[in-house]
Symmetry: C2
Subunit: 447 residues, 2 copies
C-alpha cells in the first residue's frame, strides 16, 4: 500500500494517483487471453470479441446462446433447459439456511421501503386560457437483470436490482445468471422470488446480454438491462445500448474513506479491506489530515489482512490499488475525494454531516463510525449498484428512476394557440421549416 | 404513401410495418460512402469510421480535431479559431431580426418555466434509533451540447438542451456546432446566450463528440453530452458512452397521429408534413378508425405537399415512410400506437384526455386540435429532444433529471447498527465475504 503526503508530493501527483483507468482499458490476464485466442482462433481485443458474440446471438438466437454457454460455462444444454423450473426453486428453498433467508427477507423489506420513498408522480400544470402541460411518469414494460455467478454468488445484487424495478411498477422482471456446474446458487433463486422476478434463465456473459437485448426463441427481449458484471458483460451492455437502455457501465469496486484523527484505525482498515476482498482490481483509499491515523491504518490493514479467507485477493488489491493520502487539511481532503468520485465514500470525522454538502461526486456516502460500507451493501435500504471509476461524476446510484421513463403532455386550447401562433410561425420560418409554420397557420385560419 | 386496412391485412402485418429499423442500420447514400472511401482509403462501415475518428481525437487532441474539421466542414482553422468570440456574438445580434429574437426569448421563458417545475429536491428520511437515510440530488459540473448545423440551423435545439441544464444547476454548459463556411448561424449564437451557454466551439460530427468526451487542449472535457445529430454523431455518442454519459441515441424524426372521424383532415395532413419535411428518413403515420378520414388525409397530404419549399424532402419521406392505418376501432389504434412508441404522438379525437392514460410509450403526447407538434417543437415549454425509433419504450424526453445525478446517504447510529449487525454478518458470510462481515463485527465488539 502506498502512503503519500500531499504537501510533499504536490496536488497534481495526488490527482494523478487518484485517476482511474477507464473500465475498458483493463488488461486481461495472459491466461484468459490465451484461452480466448484458442476459442476464437484469433487474438481479439475484448471489445472485438464481445461484438462477435453479440452479433452471433443477434443473428442466430438460441443456437449461438447455447453454443457460447457451452464454451464459457461448460454446460451442454438444450434451449428448454435454460429456464429455471419450479422444482429448482423448491429445491433451493429446501437447501437454504432459514436464518439467511430470514435476513434476506428483512433486507428486502428495508430496500423496498427506501425505494418506495423515491417514487415520483406524473404531474400536470395549468397555463393561460385553459391549457395544460405535464409529464407522465411510466414504468418500463420489461426489464432484464444480470446477476454474476462467477467466484461468488450475490443474492444481494438480485434484491438491489429487482426491488427498485418492482417498486417502479415494471410488469415483467426477468433475470439471467451464469450456471455453475449447471446450477444456480439457492440464495440467488430465493432472492429472485422475494423480489418479484418472473423468470430466471441460466445464461451469463456477453451472450446473455445479447439475448436480453435482441430476444431469442427462449429468452424474451427486454427494454432495459441492469446489473453488475465482468469486463465482457460491461462491454456487451455498451454494445447493445440503443437497442435497449442500460443502467451504467461499471468496473471494479472502490471505497474512499475521509477521516480525521477522531477515526478508529481498526474500523478504517476493516472497511478498506471489505472492498479489497472483492477483486484484485478493487481499490481502497484513505484520505486523512492525520499522519498518526495514516500510519496506524496502514499497520492495521496488514494485521487484519493476515486473517482473511480471501487474503490473496485482498492482498493483491491492497498492493495494487491501496492508497493512503495525507492531506494538508480536511478541505483539501474533500477536494481529493470529489476528484476521485468514489463508488463508496465513508466520512469518519467528528462531524460528518458538516462535510456532506461539500461532497459533489460519490455513488453513496456513509456517515460516521456506525455506517460501514457493508451496511449499505446488504441491509440499510439504499442501493448497492453504484457508479465506479470516477463515473459518479455523471451516473446515479441505481434507483426507482432507473426503471421509469418520462413523456411530455401538451394540451393547448384555441385561445392559447392563437396567442402563441405568431411566435411559432416566426421561429419555424427562421429555421426554414415552412411545413411546421403551416401546421400552425392552418389552425389560425380556421378560427 | 401506403394506406392499409388492419382488418384485411391482419395485426401482424401492421406491427411489421410499424417496426422501425435500428438507428445504426441506416444505409448511407452511395455518394457519402464513396466520399468516405476516398477520405479514409477503405470502405469502412459508419461504426468503424466513427471508432477511428474517436480514437484519433482521443490520442491526438486538437490536431486530429482540426484535421477532421478541414476534411468534413471544409474549414482550415487554427485551434485558436475554434472558440466563438465576443465579437462574433455581437455580430450575430446585429444581424438578427429583432422579432425572431423576441420570439426566441418568449420561447426560452416558457421552456424555463416548464423545466423549473421538474426540479426534484435532495431528501432525507428517518429510521429507528436516530438513523438517517436519504438521497442527494446534485447537478453535473460540466455538460456539452451538440447542435447540428447541416442543412438547417436549429436555435430551438440550443434552448431545448441548454435551458434544462441551466435549470438543473450545471456549472458550465459548453456547446459545439459545425461551422458553415466558417460561420455559425446568428440565431444559434443568440439562443446560446439566452440559455446560459458559457462557451461555443466551431466543431461538428464525431470529432466534436470525441473532443467533448476526452477533452483537447482547446475543448474542455465534459461529464455528459446531449443533443441531436446525424448517424455519425449518434454513433460517436455511443462510442464515448462510459467515458461520459449521454442523453440517448436517436434517429430520424417521427409523428404518429391517432384520430377519429372528428379530426380535421387538413390539420392531420399538415402535422404529418411537419415531420416529413425534416428528413427523407422521417416518418409520418396516421392511425384512425375512420376510412373516410384516412382517404381525406391521404388526399390532403398530396395537396399541401405541392406548396412546400422543402417539397423534395417531404415527398421522399412520405413516399418512403408515410403510412395510414385503418384500425378496427380506437382501442386497436392505441395498441398499434403503443407498439410503435412514437417520438411525437398527436391525439386528434373527440375526447383526447380519455385516451392519455392508455398511452404507454411515446416521447411527447399532443392532445386535441390546438396542440400541433410544432407548438412543442418551439414554444409551449416541454422539451423537443425526444426518443425515436421505438426507443420511447425505454428513453425519456430530455428533462432536468438528464442533468442531475443521485447519491445515497446512509447514517446509522450505534444502536441501529447493533440491531442490524447479525443480519448483515449472516448475509456477508453467505456470500463468502468475510471482510464485509468483519467490518460489522469489529463495531459490535467495540460496543
Amino acid at each position: 500500500m502506498k502512503i503519500i503526503n500531499a504537501k510533499e508530493a504536490g496536488k497534481d501527483e495526488i490527482f494523478r494517483l487518484l485517476k482511474k483507468a477507464p473500465f475498458d482499458e483493463v488488461e486481461l490476464s495472459p491466461k484468459i487471453r490465451e484461452a480466448n485466442k484458442k476459442l476464437f482462433g484469433e487474438d481479439l481485443s475484448p471489445a472485438e470479441l464481445v461484438r462477435r458474440i453479440v452479433r452471433d446471438v443477434r443473428e442466430k438466437g438460441d443456437e449461438a446462446l447455447l453454443s457460447y454457454t457451452k464454451m464459457f460455462d461448460g454446460v451442454e444444454a438444450l434451449a428448454s433447459d435454460l429456464i429455471v423450473t419450479e422444482d429448482e426453486f423448491k429445491a433451493a428453498e429446501k437447501e437454504a439456511d432459514k436464518e439467511v433467508v430470514a435476513a434476506l427477507s428483512r433486507a428486502a423489506a428495508n430496500i423496498r421501503r427506501y425505494h418506495e420513498e423515491q417514487k415520483p408522480n406524473s404531474w400536470i400544470t395549468y397555463r393561460d386560457h385553459g391549457s395544460i402541460l405535464g409529464q407522465s411518469v411510466i414504468p418500463l414494460d420489461k426489464v432484464g437483470i444480470y446477476v454474476p455467478g462467477g467466484t461468488a454468488a450475490y443474492p444481494s445484487s438480485v434484491l438491489m436490482n429487482a426491488i427498485p424495478a418492482s417498486v417502479a411498477g415494471v410488469k415483467e422482471i426477468i433475470m439471467t445468471v451464469p450456471p455453475k456446474n449447471g446450477k444456480i446458487n439457492p440464495y440467488v433463486l430465493i432472492a429472485a422470488k422475494l423480489a418479484g422476478v418472473a423468470k430466471v434463465y441460466k445464461a451469463g456473459g456477453a451472450q446473455a446480454i445479447a439475448a436480453l437485448a435482441y430476444g431469442t426463441k427462449t429468452i424474451p427481449q427486454v427494454d432495459k438491462i441492469t446489473g453488475p458484471g465482468n469486463l465482457f458483460v460491461t462491454l456487451a451492455k455498451k454494445e447493445v445500448f440503443g437497442a435497449v437502455d442500460i443502467d451504467m457501465l461499471a468496473g471494479p469496486s472502490e471505497i474512499l474513506i475521509l477521516a480525521d484523527k477522531s477515526a478508529d484505525p481498526k474500523l478504517a482498515a476493516a472497511d478498506m479491506l471489505s472492498q479489497a476482498e472483492h477483486d484484485p482490481l478493487a481499490s481502497s483509499i484513505l484520505i486523512t489530515d492525520s499522519l498518526d491515523l495514516a500510519e496506524k491504518v496502514a499497520a492495521e490493514v496488514q494485521i487484519q489482512l493476515a486473517a482473511l479467507p480471501r487474503k490473496e485477493i485482498a492482498e493483491a488489491s491492497v498492493e495494487r490499488n491501496g492508497l493512503i493520502v495525507i492531506a494538508e487539511d480536511l478541505e483539501q481532503g474533500i477536494e481529493f475525494a470529489n476528484y476521485s468520485a468514489p463508488e463508496h465514500m465513508e466520512i469518519l470525522t467528528s462531524a460528518p454531516f458538516e462535510i456532506l454538502p461539500k461532497i459533489k461526486h460519490a455513488g453513496a456516502v456513509f456517515l460516521g463510525s456506525y455506517s460501514p460500507e457493508p451496511l449499505g451493501d446488504y441491509f440499510a435500504g439504499p442501493n448497492h449498484v453504484l457508479p465506479t471509476g470516477g463515473t459518479a461524476r455523471f451516473y446515479s446510484v441505481l434507483n426507482v428512476e432507473t426503471f421509469l421513463k418520462r413523456t411530455s403532455i401538451i394540451s393547448y386550447t384555441e385561445a392559447a394557440l392563437k396567442e402563441a401562433s405568431d411566435d411559432i410561425v416566426k421561429l419555424a420560418e427562421s429555421e426554414g421549416l415552412e411545413a411546421h409554420a403551416n401546421a400552425v397557420k392552418l389552425r389560425k385560419f380556421l378560427q
